[in-house]
Symmetry: C2
Subunit: 165 residues, 2 copies
Amino acid sequence: MLAKTFVPRQLLVSRCFSSVTSKTLKVGDVLREARVFSSEDVKSYAEVSHDWNPLHFDQESARKAGFESCLVHGMLVSSMFPRIISAHFPGAVYVSQTLHFRSPVYIGDDILGIVQATTLRQTKNKYIVKFSTKCIKNHSELVLLDGEATAILPNLEVLQPCHSE
Amino acid sequence: MLAKTFVPRQLLVSRCFSSVTSKTLKVGDVLREARVFSSEDVKSYAEVSHDWNPLHFDQESARKAGFESCLVHGMLVSSMFPRIISAHFPGAVYVSQTLHFRSPVYIGDDILGIVQATTLRQTKNKYIVKFSTKCIKNHSELVLLDGEATAILPNLEVLQPCHSE
């Protein structure tokens, strides 16, 4: 289940908003953010989550479980998705998230979080948006984590639009 | 989607390991842990996740979105599930998690995390276990968050067995 999964390179460079001038979210638009988790991040997350699984702190435990070194908590990596959505749509309400942890994320890995709008529905004065959510190892095609999120957005105006690549 | 969902009271007091003397996980066994998230927890989580959604810090934003007061990050509440599993099975590797955020979790709410083994499969010298995962408002039947987790456990010996209620 932790087998390596690859996505075609063209998906990684798909459009990020239909035009640079557009600031309204549309189906197909992509939001991205890079991050490297440090050992201090892992410790801070353990302190707030109370999750002190030795896989995150003890090299021997990590190696015994088949990993190269200490892992970042999967749920800490997953936090990139609501972070990316709420950074672009402050006031977004998270409704659901599925998560498949496909490859280990190590402390110091250069990770790219990718969130793509897949469906969009207006209800009264709010918007229910489904996103495909993915973390890949930056500058590679290795999928670390993927799934789907649904959020209620107060509007579709993108606060920090990113640009087409 | 944030409608109130109730579980029958008898499910909340279901068996927690088939007997007090048994320390081996079986299908149907339940692990529980209570927690109250403070505003300091929410701030610490925002610092490590970089998720500064105003719903978690600004009363007016929270009320404008239809909530009574500031919310705990859904992914912080969700961290209770891997925490509960890894506290009982150190070295557990998280494989997947689904999450449905059904009711708001407010700072100061008394929450009970409930993890129940639903299927169990041995593969070589490890165990793949599916768990139903749920957070309820303690002393009530209100489901705040539910879903399903899969984890690879190094063994089935429960480190901190809880007792039948």
